[in-house]
């Protein structure tokens, strides 16, 4: 029994930790795509900007809270910067530009060694209250912290999407001609959505760094953007609750496949591919039997014209 607790508990804690990080990350995307209809294929870039800004500032002596704040703000600013030239154009331009941006960011992180230490990555930065919390309880503390952050982000986004501001965002998702004809500055709302979504990804980046204690450019491959999309689609587009559940399902699934790896005739590399195949199958099944996602509203899907 004791052994059971001592094995299972850390395992569950790990799943919850990583799920809460990805839930925050995907909530940012859900605001952009689920509520505003923006197609961002470079969400991982903002994840990276948040993480790198936080840890780089911190190792050069900046207090941790300020470092995180800077990471969040910088990720949001890059969202603005990317949105200004693209969001006035047709919607697919944002998709194309964000894919490119995401790779550019990763190559900069990889090649500008004087700044980012390149492929060696960064470790040795501070973690929240690391001197106060005893080591054996640290992950539990981190989990409480992350769940609290997730709760705040979730409640804030819920409040936003139910406000008149969120109503304008949803109308843009539906048909931006309508809000334009009613005198709403569509461009400005799209920009705000992208900036906030990106800032939230930046916050998730800082969380990821605290959890991993080490980051390198490989941490932020395009697959991370894809993970966020899977989470949003799985949970149900435009459902914040669904996004959280989606994150939990995805990471439970990932760790479960790790768990059974020893019983399968795969190398860990093959296992990675196998997992993606499984995810693909899962999504196909979802599309066949519950295309609106777990928490999505069926009417909303059926009504698209």
């Amino acid at each position: 029994m004791i052994e059971y607790v001592s094995v299972i508990l850390p395992y569950v804690t790990t799943i919850l930790l990583i799920s809460s990080i990805y839930a925050v990350f995907a909530l940012g995307l859900n605001l952009e795509w689920g509520f505003t209809g923006l197609i961002n294929f470079g969400h991982a870039a903002f994840f990276a900007i948040g993480a790198y800004t936080t840890v780089m500032l911190n190792i050069s002596g900046c207090p941790l809270v300020l470092s995180v704040a800077a990471g969040v703000v910088l990720a949001g600013l890059f969202g603005l910067l990317l949105g200004i030239p693209t969001l006035r154009l047709r919607e697919d331009y944002l998709a194309i530009v964000t894919i490119g941006f995401s790779e550019v960011v990763r190559y900069i992180l990889l090649n500008e060694e004087w700044l980012t230490r390149g492929p060696f990555g960064i470790h040795g930065f501070e973690r929240p209250l690391q001197d106060v919390i005893p080591y054996q309880y640290y992950n539990t503390f981190l989990l409480i912290l992350f769940v609290a952050i997730l709760g705040i982000v979730y409640l804030s986004i819920e409040k936003l999407v139910r406000s008149p501001c969120g109503r304008v965002m949803k109308s843009i998702r539906e048909d931006e001609t309508v809000p334009s004809a009613l005198g709403k500055n569509v461009f400005s709302y799209k920009l705000q959505s992208l900036a906030i979504g990106s800032a939230i990804a930046g916050l998730a980046g800082a969380m990821l760094a605290f959890y991993l204690q080490y980051i390198d450019p490989g941490t932020f491959k395009p697959i991370e953007t894809f993970h966020a999309w899977i989470i949003v689609v799985l949970g149900g587009t435009a459902s914040n609750r669904g996004t959280i559940v989606g994150a939990l399902i995805l990471w439970t699934f990932f760790s479960a496949t790790k768990f059974i790896n020893p019983y399968l005739p795969f190398t860990s590399h093959q296992m990675g591919a196998f997992r993606m195949i499984m995810i693909g199958l899962l999504l196909m099944l979802l599309m066949m039997y519950k295309p609106e996602g777990i928490f999505g509203k069926k009417e909303e899907l059926a009504l698209s014209d």
Binding site: L160, P164, K170, E174, T177, P179, A181, G183, D305
Partner: protein, 270 residues
């Protein structure tokens, strides 16, 4: 001196420019070889209802698109004394006009009530920080807007559908929703593209009366309509378009007698 005295007399030989809410000069829009709008000029006096009629493809909707800023062509558009032809649609709308679309644009995955509540301009809660900083104002305003929405929904006889997704409405109901949403704004100029098409007769009658009432309150209307009896009944003036040009303009009775109009549009002997 002479001029000043003249202005005391209430006879004005040509339209008093101050009272022109909209004036359009030499408007042009070509789509490839199609001259959709080909040198249109028209003037609308504040507080009147102007009907815009003409055969299919005459360019009426394109005129609407140009005035509301959704299409850019050439020519001059002056709305309430301000050039608007180079403004984006939302800025034109903010100047105080609202338009509906011939094919209704319901926000399908939003409820009927949400469709209406979106419309009013300058809502406090549309500014993101106010959602947190001015909770009370936002809440109070939401209450008022909801009340007004319900009032208008009742008028258009779709109040029982307020919680339905707009995508679930019938074609005619979407038309009503489109109009109801426009009525949520109190614009100086309301442009309706075929408001009576697909709407049942009793409701058409009711809408006509409502337009009349709003005109009495000082609102100006520009209305595209193929329902000739209805449009002649509510209009003060009628403009007829054909092949991108203005054919004639005048009081409804004059226009109905016009030979050219009979030929190209109304048909028969009238």
């Amino acid at each position: 001196m002479e001029r000043k005295r003249n202005s005391h007399y209430l006879i004005d030989p040509d339209p008093v420019t101050l009272m022109d809410i909209l004036s359009v000069r030499n408007l042009r829009k070509h789509f490839g070889g199609v001259k959709a709008v080909d040198g249109c000029s028209l003037t609308i006096r504040a507080g009147t209802v102007v009907g815009l009629i003409g055969p299919n493809g005459a360019g009426k909707t394109t005129v609407f698109n140009l005035i509301s800023g959704f299409e850019k062509g050439s020519g001059e558009i002056i709305f309430k004394g301000r050039r608007t032809d180079n403004l984006p649609p939302f800025k034109v709308a903010q100047c105080g006009m609202v338009r509906t679309f011939q094919i209704p644009r319901a926000l399908t995955k939003m409820t009927v009530l949400e469709n209406l509540m979106l419309a009013p301009k300058a809502q406090a809660g549309e500014r993101i920080w106010n959602v947190w900083l001015r909770r009370k104002d936002v809440k109070e305003q939401e209450r008022q807007i909801k009340e007004k929405s319900r009032h208008i929904l009742r008028f258009f006889e779709i109040a029982h559908l307020e919680d339905e997704y707009a995508g679930a409405l019938s074609g005619g109901q979407k038309k009503l929703l489109e109009m109801a949403r426009a009525m949520m704004i109190d614009p100086s100029l309301m442009m309706l593209d075929e408001p009576f098409a697909g709407v049942n007769p009793t409701l058409s009658q009711k809408i006509s009366e409502y337009i009349d009432e709003l005109r009495g309150g000082g609102m100006t209307f520009l209305i595209i309509e193929h329902d000739i009896p209805a449009i002649t009944r509510i209009s003060d003036r009628i403009t007829v378009m054909n092949e991108g040009k203005i054919l004639t303009e005048g009081a409804p009775d004059e226009v109905k007698q016009n030979r050219e109009v009979l030929n190209v549009y109304l048909g028969g002997e009238g």
